[in-house]
């Protein structure tokens, strides 16, 4: 009865071969796989429109499969006209308030305007938005409509949250026709599960 010994020897041999072959095989499988990314975009302001569109368009340029799930205020980014997105420094201590024109010393000043004054001046938000748009232009940063069309052109899947469409009283006609589908959490999660990178913004 030398059967158990044979079995043990065989197991040891298989284990040894697996250790040798498996790492290379896994590398090959990894290299052959197209990377993928899913993003949840939840904000609808000019500043927060940048992260999803920058990362999505860049990932697509790298050859990745990309989907963005737009939910809550993020749904604003799928509207037909997004040239009127706004940014507010009110209650946002992280946002520098600098002037995009004038001599260097003037541009360097950080205008620390108290919230109470910001809230009290009519049109303050529009002014801040105008200043930020000028800063974006001065720095050769793309505007949001351009980044969105570049993303679409590069094949990024735009997905709308159906629940938010209903909740905020939108109709599908409010959004660009390039929106691939409208769905819910149960559709998005399996996509995120398969993705190599999944980000919430």
């Amino acid at each position: 009865m030398n059967m158990p010994t044979d079995q043990a020897a065989l197991d040891a041999l298989i284990r040894q071969r697996l250790d040798e072959i498996l790492p290379q095989k896994l590398e090959e499988l990894k290299a052959a796989k197209t990377p993928s990314m899913t993003i949840i975009a939840t904000k609808g302001t000019l500043d927060w429109a940048y992260p999803p569109f920058i990362l999505a368009s860049t990932a697509a340029a790298l050859g990745w499969n990309v989907s963005i799930f737009f939910t809550f205020y993020g749904l604003n980014l799928l509207k037909k006209d997004i040239s009127d997105l706004k940014v507010s420094p009110l209650g946002n201590p992280g946002m520098p308030m600098k002037m995009p024109f004038g001599p260097g010393w003037f541009k360097g000043i950080n205008w620390n305007i108290p919230n109470l004054i910001q809230a009290g001046i009519p049109g303050f938000e529009s002014m801040a938005t105008m200043l930020m748009k000028q800063t974006i232009k001065n720095n050769g940063v793309a505007d949001i409509p351009e980044l969105r069309s570049l993303s679409i052109e590069a094949g990024v899947n735009m997905i709308g949250c159906q629940m938010t469409v209903d909740l905020f009283g939108f109709t599908r006609d409010d959004f660009i026709p390039e929106v691939k589908e409208y769905c819910g959490a149960a559709t998005f999660l399996p996509m995120a599960q398969q993705a190599d990178v999944s980000l919430y913004m």
Binding site: A61, L62, G63, G140
Partner: protein, 75 residues
């Protein structure tokens, strides 16, 4: 260095130089060389990473004052 197409990405900031380069490469044929001029300091690392990920070969990177010059060979 000889090249088949040129892309002026001067004054453009992240991620536009990469996106424009991707577009330009897509219109070229395998083996052709694209010359890119940029001013974004971040583009040095970005083009290296772009080449590595996409398999297009980054033939050279050069800094000329405040400008950067890249040569990329299409896969």
């Amino acid at each position: 260095m000889n090249f088949d197409k040129e892309l002026d990405a001067k004054g453009l900031n992240c991620p536009l130089p990469i996106l424009r380069a991707k577009k330009a490469l897509a219109e070229m044929t395998s083996g052709q060389v694209l010359r890119i001029m940029a001013t974004d300091p971040g583009s040095v690392k970005d083009f290296a990473a772009f080449a590595k990920q996409t398999g297009n070969e980054l033939l050279s990177t050069a800094e000329k004052g405040k400008e950067y010059e890249f040569f990329i060979k299409r896969k």
